[in-house]
Structure formats: C-alpha cells, structure tokens
C-alpha cells in the first residue's frame, strides 16, 4: 500500500521540517480553525484534569445566603438556587462531560472497530447478521436510542456512558468494514498470506493499523455528538444523577423559570457545552482534512 511520505509532502508545500514541533506549527498554519479548536479542547481537558485546583469553591456546597446571587467578585458566574457556585460547578462539570464523551466514544469505537473488522474480514454469515443488526440500530435517531437505553439502564455515570456508546457503534462499524473490504484486496495482504501468516494475525497486524486514520477522524466527530447527547439526556432528566454537576442538568434545573430572573444560570453552562463541542468539531474537521484526503473539502 502506497503511503504518503508526510515529511516530503510538507517540504514540498514549503514547510521547514526539522521535527515534530515544526510539523505541529505547520498544521496550525494550514488549519487555523483546527488550531483554535485544539486550543479550546486543550483548555477543556485542562479544566477537567485540574478541576480541584481551579475551582474557587466546593461545587456541591450549598449556601442559603448566596441563593440565586448575581455574578459578583466571589462568584464570578453567580450562584444557583441552592447557592452553589456556578463557576465551580462548570469546571467540575467539564470532568463529567469529558468522562462521558471520551468514555462513550472509546467504548462505542472499540465495539464498532471489532464488529467492522470481523465483518469485513470474515464476511459470510457473520457479516450478514451484523449488517442486519446495524440496520436495526440505525433505524432510530441517536437521541431516541440513547433516551431509551438510558431509561432502561437507570441513571448513573457508567450507564450514561453505555447508553451513548451503543448508538455510536453502527457508524464506526460501517466505516471500518468498508475500509477492511478494500484493504483485504491489497497486495500487502496477499503477500502476508503467501508468507503463511494466520488470518487473525493479518487482521490484527496488517488491516487494523491501516484503519486507524478513518477511525480517528470518525471518533473526533463522534466525541462532539457524545458530549451533546450527554447534555441532552441530563437536560431531560435521564442522564447523570444528582449531585454530580452535569452541564445539561444545570440547564434543566434553571430552565424556563429562571430565564427571567437569573439569566446567568442559563448563559454560562450553555456556553460551556457549546464551546467544548465547538472546539472538538473544529479539531475534528481539521483532522479529517489532514488524515482523510478523499473527504477533503
């Protein structure tokens, strides 16, 4: 399989290729929007990892005096109806959002890669059965499927991750399957077979690594929708249970009734969700352009 010599390509395009750092800078120059997305995503990850250090208050501590207090010096984004600091809750919510987003994308991705790889490589009755199951799973919109799954599993962090990951499986399986189908006809697979390699080894050593690029592209795109779906589920009361500060739940607590009286309860959690998803999507678009040239637009 002919692979792109990235360094040569970069040099041809006029880049100074002396190491990873300059390659990184080149990516930033070539995809300014992607670089912005990367910065937003990095900030999001930073907030999630160092939540304890950044939070000025305990996100769960209630304070009757601060109930519905407007943004002020101590609470820069105001307090909710139980007097909890909105800013601290948003920082701590980043952890939940990221955990559910990455957890469900990875779980769905691993299942999807397994199904897609086996389907495309072994074909036959297994493939036929998997294709029908995927058809069934794709007959429902992501949110409806996640809603029913979340309700039937019960509200908890783990169950929310599972409920979101399952509807993500079909898309990954489809992409990996079609990739595997074209890869298995490649001369290098034939060569491996001629050398007497076992089928399982060919699938794992030669086909799987080559599906990495489309998988990364798809996973980044799915990360955004996983974060959004978690927020939607929690907003509808079927996601992360109390007292965890989930962004979606913060909005549902404060929904229509506080639109009039405490707009900061609506504005800040919404900005947090939107920024996190927006950053992921920007980064995902740039990665797709770089890693999957056929889809380049």
């Amino acid at each position: 399989m002919a692979t792109l010599d990235h360094d040569a390509e970069l040099e041809k395009a006029g880049a100074n290729v002396s190491g990873r750092w300059s390659a990184f800078l080149f990516f930033c120059r070539k995809y300014p929007l992607g670089a912005i997305g990367g910065v937003i995503f990095a900030a999001f990850v930073f907030a999630a990892v160092f939540a304890e250090v950044i939070m000025p208050h305990d996100p769960l501590a209630t304070n009757a005096d601060a109930s519905l207090s407007a943004p002020n010096q101590s609470m820069i984004m105001g307090g909710d109806m139980m007097g909890r600091d909105v800013y601290s809750r948003i920082i701590s919510g980043a952890r939940i959002s990221l955990a559910v987003g990455i957890g469900s994308t990875l779980l769905g991705g691993i299942l999807g890669v397994l199904v897609g790889l086996m389907s495309g490589f072994f074909l036959g009755w297994f493939d036929l059965m998997m294709q029908r199951i995927i058809d069934i799973m794709q007959a429902l919109p992501l949110l409806v499927m996640a809603l029913v799954m979340a309700a039937s599993l019960g509200p908890s962090l783990e169950n929310t991750i599972i409920a979101i990951s399952i509807p993500l499986v079909p898309q990954v399986a489809r992409v990996i399957r079609s990739n595997t189908l074209s890869l298995r006809e490649m001369p290098f697979v034939e060569a491996a077979r001629a050398l007497g390699m076992s089928e399982v080894r060919i699938a794992l050593k030669h086909i799987l690594p080559n599906t990495l690029a489309p998988f990364i592209v798809l996973a980044t795109a799915q990360l955004g929708s996983a974060i959004l779906t978690e927020a939607s589920l929690s907003f509808l009361g079927l996601g992360i249970p109390e007292p965890h500060p989930s962004w979606g739940r913060m909005l549902s607590e404060s929904a229509a009734e506080y639109v009039r009286t405490a707009p900061w309860l609506v504005i800040f959690p919404g900005i947090a969700i939107s920024l996190a998803v927006f950053g992921t999507n920007l980064l995902g678009d740039a990665l797709r352009d770089q890693l999957d040239p056929r889809q380049r637009s």
Binding site: L33, V148, A151, R260, V277
Partner: protein, 315 residues
C-alpha cells in the same frame, strides 16, 4: 430493478421486526414498571394490590407472551391503553402527531432555506473570509445544544417583548399557528441546516473540480453560468440522500425543543412516557419513529435512482 425493490422491501420489514424486538426487551429491562412508580408515589405498598394491578396490565405474563400480545394487537391497529391516562394509546397519540409534523416540516423548510444557498456560496467563495465565516456558523449550528438555543430565544423574547411565547391554547387561525411554530422550528432548523450546508459545500466543491467544469470555463462560460448552471444541478443531487439523516436529526431536535417550548407534540410526549414507564405509549411511538426513518431512507434510495440516471440498481 423490480427484484431489487422486493429485496429492499423485505430488508426493511426485517429491520422493523428487529426494532420491535429490541425496543420491547429494552423497555422491560428498565428498573421498575408503572406499578412500582404508582405505588412508590402513594407511599405504601400492599403487595396484593400491586400484583392485581400488574395482572390487570398483563405485566405478570412471561415477556415473550407480552411481546406477542403487543405485536399481534399492533397488526390489527390496536395500540393498547396508556397506563397513565388509561385512554387508548391511539387517542393519546393521534392529536399530537399533526403538531409535531407541522413543526418538522417547517424546520425542514428552514434548514433547506438556510443550508442550501449558504453551502453553495461557501463553496463558490472557497477559502475567502466569507467561506470561513459561513463554515464557523455552520459548525456552531452543530455545536450549540438545541435546548440552549431554545432557552436563548426565550430569553431574547423576554428581553425584547417582555413575554415568553410558550404554547398556550390551540391557535385560532393559520397565521397564529405559524407564528407559534416559527421560533421553535427556527431553533430546530438552524441546527439541521448545518448538516445540509456542510454537505452542499463539499458536494459543490467536488463537482467544481470535475473536467466538464473546466471545459465549460475554457469555452468562455461566465463564472455565474458555470457555478449555478453547470455545477449546481449535479451538486444538489447527493444532498437529497441525506434527507434520511436529516429526518433522524430533526426528530432528536424536536424532542428537546418541544420540551423547552412546552409544545404538546409527540416528541415531548415520548420523554414524559419514558419517565412514567408508560410502555404502550413508548413502544408504539418508538416504532412509529423507526417506521418513519426507515421508510424515508427507502424512498430516498428510490428517488436517487430516478434523479440520477447513472445509478442502476442491478438485480
């Protein structure tokens, strides 16, 4: 073509049968049934009474038997009785469907109205500031949660008009009705338009790279003629294929938006029914959604063969 149609039709039936099994068993996995919820809220549990209620609702039967009862009733158009309102599920659902249907059609209208022209402009002016701005807007459409967008619209209304345009009574005339649906459908449509815009853009760029476009340019056709006469027609074709994805996306958006705007449509009703474990409503409604998505995809496949003469469905 004919045998393709028949095969495709049977696959569609198979998918729906599979869906009915999945949905039925998923719902029975749920912790707690309606009897638990009713007796929990009453605060005291008489096991005999609870068992009587479960017997009355048929919840004591083995699950495969319950499934068979549901499907065989569904075949003759009997949707069962809602556990919550104790009315026939059909009577609960029927008046709510037109509301959601109107919202969905208006949202689809919005999304095409925004998505298609903006996608074309973005492609024609590729890599200009305008293109970047439009791409950021369309990406933000995919990134803003629909409930937040709806809440922001509500906030803007409070700020500028001093009131919230929440669904109150049945509107009196068509104009009132349109006005009532305008904001929610714009909220759903903005998000959905992002998908159309992105696909239109990439499809248009794809076409603009083709040889016949270069030929047209070299023959001296004006930019406008090439872009809008030669390219656009072919670029719009693939866009029709995402109507299925779009429908699924719209349904997701409607669930949220109907909840925020308190619109009594089926999408909002689904969430309530799930929270109340109202099986007859949930399983029929989810099946209904699956039928819509599957049938739309079927029609899109056929339409595509009609629109694009290059496509032939062999055997």
């Amino acid at each position: 073509m004919a045998s393709y149609l028949v095969r495709r039709f049977f696959l569609m039936l198979l998918t729906l049968i599979g869906m009915s099994i999945v949905i039925f068993f998923l719902l029975r996995l749920m912790p707690g049934n309606i009897a638990d919820i009713m007796f929990d809220s009453a605060g005291f549990v008489d096991p005999a009474e609870k068992a009587a209620l479960e017997k009355e609702l048929g919840l004591d039967l083995p699950i495969p038997v319950q499934y068979w009862n549901w499907v065989s009733a569904l075949m003759v158009g009997d949707l069962g009785i809602s556990y919550v309102s104790e009315m026939p599920a059909y009577d609960e659902l029927a008046p709510r469907i037109p509301i959601t249907a109107k919202l969905a059609i208006m949202s689809l209208g919005f999304s095409i109205l925004f998505g298609l022209p903006l996608g074309v402009i973005s492609a024609v002016r590729q890599d200009t500031t305008l293109d970047y701005t439009l791409r950021v807007i369309s990406l933000s459409g995919l990134s803003l949660p629909s409930f937040w967008l709806a809440l922001l619209i509500l906030m803007a209304c409070v700020h500028y008009f001093g009131e919230i345009p929440i669904y109150t009574d049945t509107p009196e005339n068509l104009w009132d009705e349109l006005l009532l649906y305008l904001l929610p459908s714009a909220a759903v449509g903005f998000r959905a338009s992002a998908i159309i815009m992105r696909l239109t853009r990439s499809s248009m760029l794809e076409v603009l790279r083709q040889d016949y476009i270069r030929t047209a340019r070299s023959k001296g056709a004006s930019d406008n003629a090439v872009n809008y006469h030669h390219a656009l027609k072919n670029a719009v074709l693939p866009v029709t294929t995402i109507i299925g994805i779009e429908a699924a996306f719209l349904i997701g958006g409607l669930i949220i938006t109907e909840t925020v705007f308190n619109i009594p449509g089926v999408a909002h009703f689904l969430v309530e029914a799930i929270l109340m474990r109202d099986y007859p409503i949930v399983q029929n409604l989810v099946m209904f959604i699956a039928v819509i998505v599957v049938v739309i995809n079927f029609i899109v496949d056929l339409m595509y063969a009609v629109l694009d003469p290059r496509i032939k469905y062999a055997d």
